[in-house]
Symmetry: C2
Subunit: 233 residues, 2 copies
Amino acid sequence: MPQITLAMNKCDQCIVRQLSSLKALNKDEVVKLANSKTTYTIKKGEAIFEEGEVTNGVFCVKDGVGKLSKLSANGKDQIVKLVKSGELLGQRSMISNEPANLSAKAIADMEVCFIPKSEIIHFFNNNNQFSLNLMQSVCEDLKESENDKIALVQKTVKQRLAETLLHLHEEFGENPDKTLKVQLTREELAGIIGTATESCIRLLSDFNKLELIELVGKKIMLKNVKALKRMAE
Amino acid sequence: MPQITLAMNKCDQCIVRQLSSLKALNKDEVVKLANSKTTYTIKKGEAIFEEGEVTNGVFCVKDGVGKLSKLSANGKDQIVKLVKSGELLGQRSMISNEPANLSAKAIADMEVCFIPKSEIIHFFNNNNQFSLNLMQSVCEDLKESENDKIALVQKTVKQRLAETLLHLHEEFGENPDKTLKVQLTREELAGIIGTATESCIRLLSDFNKLELIELVGKKIMLKNVKALKRMAE
DNA sequence: TATTTAACATGATAAATATCATATTTAAAA
DNA sequence: TTTTAAATATGATATTTATCATGTTAAATA
């Protein structure tokens, strides 16, 4: 049965299969997965789904970077979470049986696979390790969200910027020229730390003058990680 | 077997069993639950568990109100969530296999039952409806936390106070004299909306003058729900 | 290449909120 | 009850951050 082997291999080799809750799936389940998935290419700036949309499944991020965000009344886009390759997207809404609470958009060109809800629920009901993994993943998101919430109240914008730069460095790494690999606009960065774009730009300038970072065009290089960490406290 | 019937009834009648994920348990499982639980009484102000503590199980809130909070460096207590009777406490840490990220303290005298982790994991692995319920409950918390996070950035303190007063009214109801049933200090209220205690007090005074609320000693009565809703937008 | 547009940058100012000081009231303890 | 401590209240002020204005640079498009 060459097709089945092919289908299995397709997902079996995938980074999402290796990193996400899906790692708990057995061979048969991976075959089932491969046969039900749909692959999409999302260009930078495009949406995977919008707030209020019913998705009826989850998206596997094979490649690229995405943002989960909510548009405010005054037109500002508050970024709740960044997602990178290996992660699942839309788990929460699917499990809660609700339309998406947030929009998902590509920050860098993305390749994603859609897995229908029926598949996920089937795995959830028949594979304890998978359901535990999925549960832990949502719990991880919850912990992060709660900590973000606390940071928003207990820390200044300056501290949050330092913290966020360190996070971005840790999570996404750096280019050969030592600049941050995730290429965010100042507006997006402001959307993550929860401040006005101008304030974000101003603080980046300050950090630059203090030699905590270096601004290489629109890119950012961390120059003094230790001092940034001290500042984030 | 009178003991077994007794043991089952004990938890079967319980409000937590009726409202939480535990509603999915069958009779045998409820008996198992009743035999493994430990009941505690927590006086107002006392802690159920502290940040950093390993709990190794979950707490069922039978009666009273609790707060999940984190102490900041400057001594302020940021409240992440309030819990009331019928809810479970400590699910996230237990599933993530981590020490508690937050402290849980009683705001009103509480009665709670402790259920060891082994029991919960057993139910999780053997009862699909239970695991789905638990999952949905964590998802609900996540959604709420994300929305809180967005509100912290996109709304003013005034809007958040209006929003919080409405939430407290909706979630906990009112006393016979129409005042809010949850009795929070101004400091705690400030800890929920994420502001300084004085700012919170000042705004309550303003709301009082505007006849949106009425301050009855330390208690708060909502007088103009419609206007509060408009203000929260 | 020239032109246009978007992103970045910075100053000036306004608004929101925190902090400090100090009463006043309420509740707890001696 | 008297005393003490804690919670509430409010004014004055400082700080943080947002907003508006405007200029500069970089990048996209004609």
